[in-house]
Symmetry: D2
Subunit: 409 residues, 4 copies
């Protein structure tokens, strides 16, 4: 494979730093480092300098934090996408955005190839490469960690020292970390013993619930057509809002999750996640939907969430099915305007109040003491027709009903 | 309608007490009170006496708590059935069991009719009557609250006093309560203002998280083929285990939920639920499934949960679809054996460890540093084929990919 | 209930003709007859005169055939909505359009009520009344056949004769018929014996396959973004195209269906349907989708079809869930442009050729003899990862695999 | 890789014949040919001799036709599994059975490897290898067509001639064929032009509808709990029944399908299928289900069919999800007993009559002229409650209803 100029998704870690000299050496090509700012909270100017120190003649830092919130996080929250019922998709969601950023730089710089620093065991390689295929199918793809003979951290350090790549002085954490403005995830290393609780000092975005404030804090979050737009009465842009929710949620220890999940590449893996602001946002959004979306629509939407989450987790962000889901979801969000009141306390968040100009909740309808909606006698007709299939089945198949009967004992 | 002898689902409350003289007066029939012990924690001997004092010549207390756990709660937990993602179905689940108990008494006593004390605005009338239709379609059904002219509590008290029915001395709570060994629910009355947080004294099964113990408590729950069988190494029968989990969960304030839900009869309503032991049980079971169920099976099972929950909530417990779901779920549970370690602390419960003889998690497979499962180069082949539909779509429809592109900005 | 002026959905049949004097007599109100032309192929001027002869001071014929094709039929075909896998929804689909037409006349005429001629046993009452609730929830609703004491055809004739309503001279068919430009359905009467084949003379839209032409006929149907726009190279408006397809399909005996279906109101019923042009349209559209929609999107869309069909059949045309589905479907149809060649012959229609500028089919990719898409060795990597969950499951649970093994014998 | 003895799935075609010397030469191993009789209708003794003539010291013919019908076809029909709505899975379904047969021989013969003759572009390689992984994960797997340097038929013939493998005298068909007792499929070659109709002489199992009998033929098929057990009143074993239905269906030209489908390995491909008896069986079974399965159960089952079909098509026959689906389906089939009358005529099959001792169809319930099931007034109550979510939505969001309104014009 001939490569002249490659755009590398660069993180600043040892893994992608080592890739710079390796790409140069292996392909005789120029390496452009692309550093996407997705809110990982690092000194990205230092990262940029490290890229050039490692041998990349040019390194770009691109701030995509606003797009991350608006075009990735918000649609995902609106879709109710939670992988395997628990994982809020923080890493999965950032990958297509980083890949997109990388493709844009590659096209502007006239690159003929794209590279990433993911290994062959994880999900991220799939997410990067499927995004490449969708956005720039004509560019070549290089995955050094699947190709070279470096195995493990020690060999990588050795290779780095041989090639003049700066090696971090501090010892690495005994697990892998991925951070952005939505979440911080930890996996591998000592976490591979799934019976053992993660150490206290693993958590970076959330306070230990035991040391969190002793009094609950109440927040009011405003939404317009499913988009978060304000906090405690103050209108905020989505990024500013996320940052505030992260700070408050983190202070109360909200949004920790310790789980085993199914990787796309076939094995199970443990992930420990912290999504403080995200957990608050998802909780409040779901609660607002409960009063503004009609029942049949709400129930069907619940089925779409898990499939949407699969798409994101499986690297299919840029796919026609996600587009179609987004259209579905957007239609449901037209009424999702209003305010939810949540309570945060020592690791948990709970909705305790909600209101909306489009509220379908009507105390007069729900009350048991009045007949304003319908004459209660009408319910008898409803029950007769609603239960008719069951009744006919029971009359026709009494032996199967006997079975039902016996089951109970 | 001619009725000679009616079996009434009797709770001991004013609503069903008033029904006794009304049924006698209206139909000239004998009233048999059926009191199902589903763990509501009341003095059921006193309830029985109240029934006879209200005019029922015979009143039966039937302890169905074991059946409740074994045949209702466990299948529902295994199915992952949670209504609208949040409600653990405590009331919905008890109704078909109470109805079944009532039918058994009715058949033994030679009754020709069944009666319940539900109003025409709620879900429970449907649950009772669909169970009647399934189990005893030949019996007549009477729903006094849909038929008579009594409206509201004051008229009921007046009617009671006129007919010698004992009237509770204490003032009623300003909301309705339903209790059993799975949950305690509150609704209506002051809760109809959905913006206002429930009062602190509403909660009966759970401590206020603020006053809960200041140190976390760890539990180890054992499962065999999806059934909970032990706690902290001690083997327990399911009922005993539930009672323990309720006590411990409640102490730590676990399992509160404040939500607006969609009733089957068409309107939205607010429910405030406490399911302390149930929340622990569901959390642990889900975590054990994560390591013992294969991915495709696990993902499909997630779609069945919401539909199963609809069936339960909509009164269709005794239905062929639930039978078929139970068969599906039972097949998935054959491997769900093992132990989950959970941490309870001030209102929240979190899984922190899990192990199983059937564990599909294998640290050696998941680790990034070794090639024991597959050569990492194989991942490239996977990605090529997995991404092929996307790549072809992108190459064929570049204008739609441009759209994707633009979306992001 | 006080009613001053009622808009009646008028068909010209005995059922709705009798309703005119009954409404006048019962409510002392004025009756406006609304006759929607949905392509039922009758002399609607005569129908209009019959309405006035029956006592309606004013009768409106509204031609809604174009809207029927464009806004009802096409979205339904695009959604792949087929009730219970077989029924193409001809009657279900016309009802909300007739109701909408009726509401528009009612609003223009200042009516305070709406009436229809459906009985209490069928689905149509639900379809009319849910449309009324969505479009004009403030208007009263009258359903004479559920309210009056007329039972059956003979009593209706007697009532008609007493009230000067013209009575058809010819004997009624021994079953009920509903016709429009999409289909002709027959049900009830002699068809209630579900073991017996419908009589030959029942079919009105389709030739008997035995007398259909002895040579196949080939058609080429053009689509643009999922909309049918041409036939055999000639561009046609949707209504004109439907009429042509009905004529040709009918000549070849295409589109008959004899089935038992589940009514919304709880019982099963037999319907015999003729949908000649519709069957051709659906067959061709599905075949074009096969080459223009990406796999994951296509597979998910197949799950939406049955739920969309339920919504239509269950009277929920005007509902937020249908709106959301339409948004999803519209997104998928952006690439569904091209031509399908179908063969019609003695009762069957079969796609035999298809082409599209957006075709995702690529002979070079599919061929087994070339490696242009991927190196066949890459497939090995795909299989390893794709099969990994199964392999781990099998290794961990050999006893369950033994079960698999034994099953086979 | 060291291989001592390999069991090869042998078909008798050039592809697998050439594999015999190649395996011997490449691995220095013994080759055991396994020939599964799945009803492909060839002289399998001659195939066996060809295997030994090609260099396999031992070749086994195993008749698995009964297992094919009982354990593969019947469960699949009961599940309603049809891939992409049209493909009856004939090839997909045979593969796991052939693989299982091969594994059994391999274990009996002490083999240490398994081999198949599939290419790297198709689905079959996945189906074989996932079955191997499930049933014998300890055995090595060899896929010669992905490994060697032979490309295309001519090189294979050359290799055969060099190695003494008998080469067929006749010219190969200009497309690939796969046959068994369920279907005959054709693909590739001239069929890759998807605009052109398949040639008349391609069809092997079905008469041209134009030359099929001029009179319809009626059949009555009996089922017991979803299993076909008789034809025209004569009790038959499942295999005998399939053979009869194939003969009769084929005579009438029933069961042809020409379609483009999505391969698992990522590209679209055209398949032309003939499934004469299968199409009859599926049609009749579905019609019997319509009168014996309760509505909610039937509707949910329709969602399982497409996923079940994916599993089969994707090679996941031996998987826990299929086991769970089988348990679901078996529960639904307990009532599917009865007889369906179908009419076959010139390419089409249509149900025209059905009866069952468990029939949930009841003419008295369905009839419009009687009130035996429920008072028609009860329908009003049903409609009120059924329509309530829509009505509330419409009243709360009139602007969205206006949108609905405008859509129609």
């Amino acid at each position: 494979m001939t490569v002249k100029k490659v755009a590398l998704a660069y993180s600043g870690g040892l893994d992608t730093s080592v890739a710079i000299p390796w790409l140069r050496e292996t392909y005789g090509c120029e390496v452009i480092a692309v550093i996407a700012d997705v809110g990982q909270g690092e000194d990205l100017d230092a990262v940029r300098k490290k890229a050039t120190a490692s041998g990349a003649p040019s390194a770009h830092v691109v701030d995509v934090r606003r797009a991350f919130v608006t075009d990735y996080i918000v649609p995902m929250v609106q879709a109710g996408a939670v992988y395997e019922g628990r994982y809020l998709l923080g890493t999965s969601l950032a990958r297509p955005l980083i890949a997109r950023t990388q493709v844009e730089v590659a096209l502007a710089e006239g690159c003929d190839a794209l590279a990433h620093g993911c290994t062959g065991k994880g999900n991220d390689q799939v997410r990067f490469e499927l995004a490449y295929q969708a956005l720039a199918p004509h560019l070549k793809v290089i995955a050094p960690w699947r190709s070279w003979h470096i195995r493990g951290r020690e060999q990588a350090i050795e290779y780095a020292q041989l090639h003049g790549v700066p090696v971090p002085a501090s010892r690495a954490k005994p697990y892998s970390v991925d951070k952005n403005l939505w979440h911080c995830s930890s996996e591998a290393g000592i976490l591979e013993d799934i019976w053992t609780e993660p150490p206290d000092d693993l958590y970076q975005y959330t306070a230990d619930p035991r040391t969190a404030p002793d009094e609950p804090e109440y927040l009011e979050i405003d939404y317009e057509e499913g988009r978060p737009v304000g906090l405690n009465g103050e209108r905020l842009d989505p990024l500013g809002l996320m940052e505030r929710l992260n700070a408050i949620g983190g202070k109360h220890g909200v949004g920790r999750m310790d789980m085993v999940e199914n990787r796309l590449v076939g094995m199970k893996t443990r992930g420990v996640y912290e999504t403080p602001g995200g957990t608050v946002l998802v909780t409040a959004h779901r609660d607002l939907e409960a009063i503004t979306i009609e029942r049949e629509c709400a129930h069907y939407k619940m089925l779409i969430g898990p499939r949407y989450a699969e798409l994101v987790y499986y690297g299919q962000w840029f796919s026609p099915l996600r587009q179609a889901f987004d259209a579905f979801v957007a239609s449901t969000q037209r009424t999702v305007t209003g305010t939810v009141r949540v309570r945060l306390y020592k690791g948990s968040v709970m909705a305790v109040g909600r209101r909306s100009p489009n509220s379908l909740y009507n105390a007069e309808l729900a009350t048991f003491s009045d007949d304003s909606v319908y004459d209660q006698r009408e319910a008898a007709g409803f029950i007769t027709l609603w239960g008719l299939p069951t009744r006919i089945f029971a009359q026709t198949n009494p032996h199967l009903i006997r079975f039902l009967h016996e089951r109970v004992r």
